[in-house]
Subunit: 158 residues, 2 copies
């Protein structure tokens, strides 16, 4: 059969890199697929769906742990969706917090750049502001949230 779902085809279908798919298998996020006679992974459409789900949730900033929870919820369609709702709300809160922080960073950076007269380093407002938080007007100080890295861009065959 020439048209079985090999990892490369799944990669294209889901926009996940080949290594990423193997990584997700390693950490148990997707079930291990069957292997062909030559030891190649042969996937089913359910794998593709699962990977699309993961990819989309990553794009929306969910952590792999959150995704793991969402996946195990979606595996039990008869349960209440309260838990899924809670995870999404959590995610929303985190996104809102990050936006707030970035807004104040933006304010500081704009001020910093605006005030730079373009002379010598010794008079540079950028360097000066960085040297001393007292120059700042916002409290851009964080309390330790871990920002997940966004999914890498559209993969292309080079």
């Amino acid at each position: 059969m020439p048209s079985s779902l090999t990892i490369g085809r799944v990669s294209k279908a889901t926009d996940c890199k080949v290594q990423t798919i193997r990584y997700y298998e390693d950490i148990g996020l997707i079930p291990k697929p069957d292997r062909s006679v030559g030891n190649q992974r042969i996937y089913e459409t359910s794998h593709v769906e699962r990977l699309r789900f993961i990819r989309h949730a990553r794009e929306l900033g969910f952590s792999l742990n959150a995704i793991r929870d969402l996946l195990s919820l979606s595996d039990q369609p008869q349960q209440s969706c309260e838990a899924a709702d809670a995870i999404a709300r959590q995610q929303l809160i985190q996104v809102e917090q990050r936006i707030g922080l970035l807004q104040s960073l933006k304010t500081e950076l704009e001020r910093m750049i605006e005030q730079c007269s373009g002379g010598k380093i010794s008079d540079c407002r950028v360097i000066e502001v960085l040297s001393d938080h007292e120059h700042c007007i916002t409290e851009h100080r964080e309390t330790g949230t871990v920002v997940p890295r966004p999914v890498s861009g559209t993969q292309s065959v080079p």
Copy 2:
């Protein structure tokens, strides 16, 4: 001398963790300090200033590489501050991009949560939306920017 600048004191003065200070030394971001007879690091006030600079820049989202550049610029006060300006502008652009992305994530998450009727998983809008990007109204897809992790919160002695 009982009041020399040991790493612990510098840690308190700069709000950087002890390990972080040693890490910055390892990667060459701060110069190696002298050692006491008992092999302890003894810092000078210039170290404290440099660490404050680093810490503040990290809080404003600069990467360690960007900070490295800024530091080497600030070591040459007679040069033009064009380069420092450029780094700050770069940083501003990245922050703006991140805000834009997060705004669209926020939109999606809100829609997702709002439309969830609170029934069973099989009818859950959250799960459904995650399964299929076609449900989305924004193009929340990223092009591979690496989001630096924010500086961890105020360190306290427990």
